[in-house]
């Protein structure tokens, strides 16, 4: 692999010169800029256009991306992001907006946010949404800040937030960041919240429980209504982590399950770019009782005009500059309009069918963490493989040789040697069959040639890294050497 940075390539005089010397006089920088502000050297590489094109094309090819490969990364919902989202979000009328423009000149943008909120309220049952959060994690923080302010406004000082032992790591982290003590409730032998144990934990000091449903084992919390009753009876609230909302679209909603606050990860359920692929957005929705606590501003409508409303009685305040990552909202809106009600329902159904297809085809080869019908994702345990000396990590690395992105590994924490597979609805049966075939093949390789797995990947530009050194001494900075 060519590991050189572009700054380390080229040599003087190799660049193309398309720009002709202008006919007017050129002012030298030191004539107009004080000497102390001028740098003596500017280490720009000197390369021809062709070399630059080749450099960046090769760099792009090192990506292991959804557009090129199957990406069953559990809990991340790596569905295909339709290119039309990007196209419409790039319309001049959107990208040339300035956040300081007068409200009467941005009516279209405000209407889009307002309409998006309408659709999400219908899907989730919530009363109102804010789109300010820059990510799902920030959405969680806003949601929990709302819960805290709600209890404060009632003069109730509660210190405890309950999370299940299978929860996403962000749940306890968010609760702790909001100043709460985190209390963990165990799962029962079906992989669901243990109701008896929960009943013992819930008291007048309980501010909320944070749940994702289906949970991180891909199982539907079928006792959700009893859980809701237990918490509400003691004056606590239910927070819905919308990371796993995909399989419920159009089938049920968090309000029917008793939740009071929720966030949605647009990059998961609503096909906007993930992580480093672009800015994020986490919508936070609330029931009527909590509308007065939303961050400012929210988009409102009066006399057929849209405006930013700053008058919210118990608002938790501002959480971000301007109004969220607007381009992400456009992409989610396009996706929702394209699919419509029937389309969203089929998204949910197909995501569940795809996961169950993989579960049934592979359960004879890999142990199931819990042997019940799953929702949008299925969690296997590589415990049998581990006994033969091959770990979930080895299997994940080997998948890369077959051009498949590894599933989420070692999560949820309560499953040993976990592999969490979420195929999403956008994959064809052919792709699922290929994945199944490869997983069975890898299981055979463990008996025939375990070293092949332990030394994998063999075909990737980067082989096994020293994980300790990578975590302790990451090399993140380019140092220019003369």
């Amino acid at each position: 692999m060519d590991k050189k940075l572009i700054f380390e390539k080229g040599s003087e005089g190799r660049k193309n010169s398309y720009v002709k010397k202008p006919s007017f006089d050129i002012v030298e920088p030191n004539q107009i800029i004080p000497e102390k502000f001028l740098r003596q050297d500017l280490p720009l590489p000197s390369l021809g256009e062709f070399e630059v094109v080749r450099h960046y094309t090769n760099l792009a090819n090192l990506n292991f991306s959804l557009d090129a490969n199957f990406y069953p990364l559990g809990s991340c919902t790596m569905k295909y992001n339709p290119k039309v989202n990007e196209e419409l979000a790039s319309l001049d009328g959107f990208i040339k907006l300035h956040p300081y423009q007068r409200e009467d000149t941005i009516q279209g943008a405000l209407e889009l946010i307002y309409s998006l909120e309408d659709i999400l309220c219908e899907i989730t049952g919530m009363k109102k949404f804010t789109f300010q959060a820059s990510s799902g994690a920030q959405g969680e923080f806003i949601g929990m800040a709302i819960i805290k302010k709600y209890h404060d406004s009632k003069g109730s000082r509660r210190s405890k937030v309950i999370v299940p032992d299978s929860s996403h790591g962000t749940n306890p982290a968010t609760a702790a960041l909001c100043g709460y003590d985190v209390v963990v409730v165990d799962s029962n032998d079906k992989g669901l919240v243990d109701l008896d144990k929960l009943a013992k934990l819930v008291d007048d000091d309980t501010a909320a429980i944070m749940l994702t449903n289906p949970n991180t084992l891909g199982l539907f919390e079928e006792n959700i209504c009893q859980i809701s009753e237990l918490i509400h009876k003691k004056g606590g609230l239910l927070y819905y982590d919308g990371a796993n909302f995909n399989p419920l679209l159009g089938i049920t909603n968090p309000v029917l399950m008793g939740f009071d606050v929720m966030h949605l990860n647009f990059h998961k359920t609503f096909s906007t770019p993930h992580g480093c692929g672009g800015p994020g957005a986490g919508a936070v929705g609330v029931v009527p009782e909590l509308v007065d606590f939303l961050p400012i501003p929210v988009v409102a409508k009066k006399n057929n005009k849209f405006y930013f409303d700053y008058k919210i009685k118990h608002t938790i305040g501002r959480v971000r500059s301007f109004y969220g990552n607007f381009s992400v909202l456009i992409k989610a809106y396009v996706y929702l309009l394209m699919l419509g009600k029937e389309g969203l329902l089929r998204v949910a159904q197909n995501s569940v069918i795809n996961a169950n297809y993989i579960k049934e085809k592979l359960k004879g080869h890999y142990s199931l963490a819990y042997n019940s019908r799953c929702m949008h994702e299925v969690v296997f345990s590589c415990d049998k493989q581990k006994e033969k000396g091959v770990s979930a990590l080895d299997i994940s690395k080997r998948l890369l040789d077959y051009k498949i992105h590894p599933p989420t590994m070692y999560f949820p924490l309560i499953v040993k040697e976990a592999l969490m597979v979420e195929p999403t609805e956008t994959e064809s049966k052919d792709t699922l069959d290929y994945f199944i075939k490869v997983m069975i093949e890898i299981d055979k390789e463990i008996n025939q040639n375990p070293d092949k797995l332990k030394n994998s990947p063999h075909t990737m530009p980067v082989k096994r890294v020293n994980e300790v050194a990578a975590a302790r001494f990451p090399n993140l900075k380019y140092t220019y050497e003369k």
Partner: protein, 126 residues
């Protein structure tokens, strides 16, 4: 290993002249994966049985280390903080974590011997 005692939370304890040397077991190390960060208590700190002694963070997860014994921390393995890989390489020797001067030697009776620990681990695997 000779004279070693174990806990159900996968710490090992070795007694040398009324002082307990504590680390995490080979099995714990295997479960955690590569350890990348370790937080240890201060020397002089009083610790009570079953309370948190420190934190071990691996590429997979973060988990707590618990003290199975009450007493005073009289030494910590300073080098370990900068060389967490010692736990990966040699959990029973180079990877020792703290030394505790015991307040109550009777607590040693609550620990598992090697046979009992091995049996516990084999049950946990299944």
């Amino acid at each position: 290993m000779d004279g070693m005692k174990y806990t159900k939370s996968h710490e090992w304890v070795k007694i040398e002249n009324g002082v307990a040397v504590i680390g995490i077991t080979d099995y714990a190390k295997d479960q955690l994966g590569d350890v990348v960060f370790i937080e240890l208590p201060d020397v002089g700190q009083r610790v009570v049985k079953s309370s948190q002694l420190g934190t071990v963070e691996s590429t997979k997860t973060a988990s707590e280390i618990y003290t199975p014994l009450t007493g005073e921390v009289i030494a910590v393995n300073d080098g370990l903080v900068d060389n967490p890989q010692w736990v990966n390489e040699s959990p029973f020797e180079k990877g020792w974590m703290v030394k505790i001067k015991l307040s109550d030697e009777n607590q040693l009776n609550d620990l598992l011997d090697e046979g009992a620990y091995k049996e516990f681990v084999s049950k946990e695997k299944h």
